[in-house]
Symmetry: C2
Subunit: 212 residues, 2 copies
Amino acid sequence: MPRRTDTRERMVRTAADLFHAQGYHATGLNQVLAEGGAPKGSLYFHFPGGKEQLAVEAVALAGDDLRTALEAVLSGTDDPVEGLNQALALLGENLERSDFKHGCPIATVALDASADSEPIREACADVYDSWQRIIAEHLNRHVADEPAAGEAGTDEPAAHQSAPGEAATDELATVVLAAIEGAVLLARTRRDLSPLHAVGARLGALLGRPTG
Amino acid sequence: MPRRTDTRERMVRTAADLFHAQGYHATGLNQVLAEGGAPKGSLYFHFPGGKEQLAVEAVALAGDDLRTALEAVLSGTDDPVEGLNQALALLGENLERSDFKHGCPIATVALDASADSEPIREACADVYDSWQRIIAEHLNRHVADEPAAGEAGTDEPAAHQSAPGEAATDELATVVLAAIEGAVLLARTRRDLSPLHAVGARLGALLGRPTG
DNA sequence: CCTGTAGTAGACCAGTCTGTATATTAAGAT
DNA sequence: ATCTTAATATACAGACTGGTCTACTACAGG
């Protein structure tokens, strides 16, 4: 093989970075090419699907990276609230380090490209699912032995097979993910980390702790 | 004044709609013009600041509209959880009615334009602030008499002046807003309302209810 | 040595982008 | 009736878009 073999990966990484900070439509291929140091021909050789394919792969890559980091942080502690707080701290560091340009690597693309491209939308949804799964597992590991509330325990016929509160944990993981995503969105827009701290401070109540 | 006098407002409304569904960079001025039935000259007459000014005004308008709707819904009930659930229902209807194109009218622009334009970013931040204020007032009206937790009551010197739980209510409103924003983001990306329902179901726990 | 091919390099295309400049029209004032 | 101004209507400019095309380079196998 001629010259370099890492061109493809470099392009995806560059694209992921730019999409992360600017979104899909605000990022031109020329910018990706310039920043990645590759000519146009190479792009369409490696990505015959063009910008759309590049975005799908970039989203998947960024999602994997953050999922890995999330797993590492969450598995490092026994306290579910503590684990999630460390995840929030990680996101806060990313925000600060990038002058509030790097929030959620998926959200921008999800919002500004899913109207255009169904494949991109699906890729983003898949990433969110994977994150939610990690969070749910984390919660299951530590708080599944609780009665898991019961405010809506009427309309569940016999859905939960194995664990008793599995459906409830999924719901809880959805809420946790939503709160985190919203906090990152607010923090990025306000250029201020306090939304992350607020969510962190209220995680205890959200997870059903007596009062923190 | 010649011809029409509503051209300006029509343009802002059209722009707000398109920015809402597609974001800032994905929406071309030609599309705004075509959909609003106005020529280019009129746009730069009414908005000498060009696309940026149009976006700032569109964001403010959309933010005002939703703030009004939010106020109406929240003032209609005495139960804070019930009120927020109705707000979630409203957002869910908007999503469904628009085939999941209309989520938060601010988020898309906030994410894909605040890297480019400081004025747009500020406009978005202002809208979020206004929404948060509405939520905080709503919470203050109904739950301010609670002890307002205290899991992190160590590093607060003497911030809260007037009401005892005011700072705590602000924090809580931030978390509520974040959770709602995140839920809308997830719902739009997944094309599925369940994140909204999940947040609704957990609002009680989040607001400090015993386990309701 | 020669050829096939993976990959690179960049010119090029048609279309679109935001923004500007120049008419043209309609109303209000004098 | 005329002059001014608010507003509309287009034509146009220059830059940039994503995408295609062809030429070229470097390596591998025969």
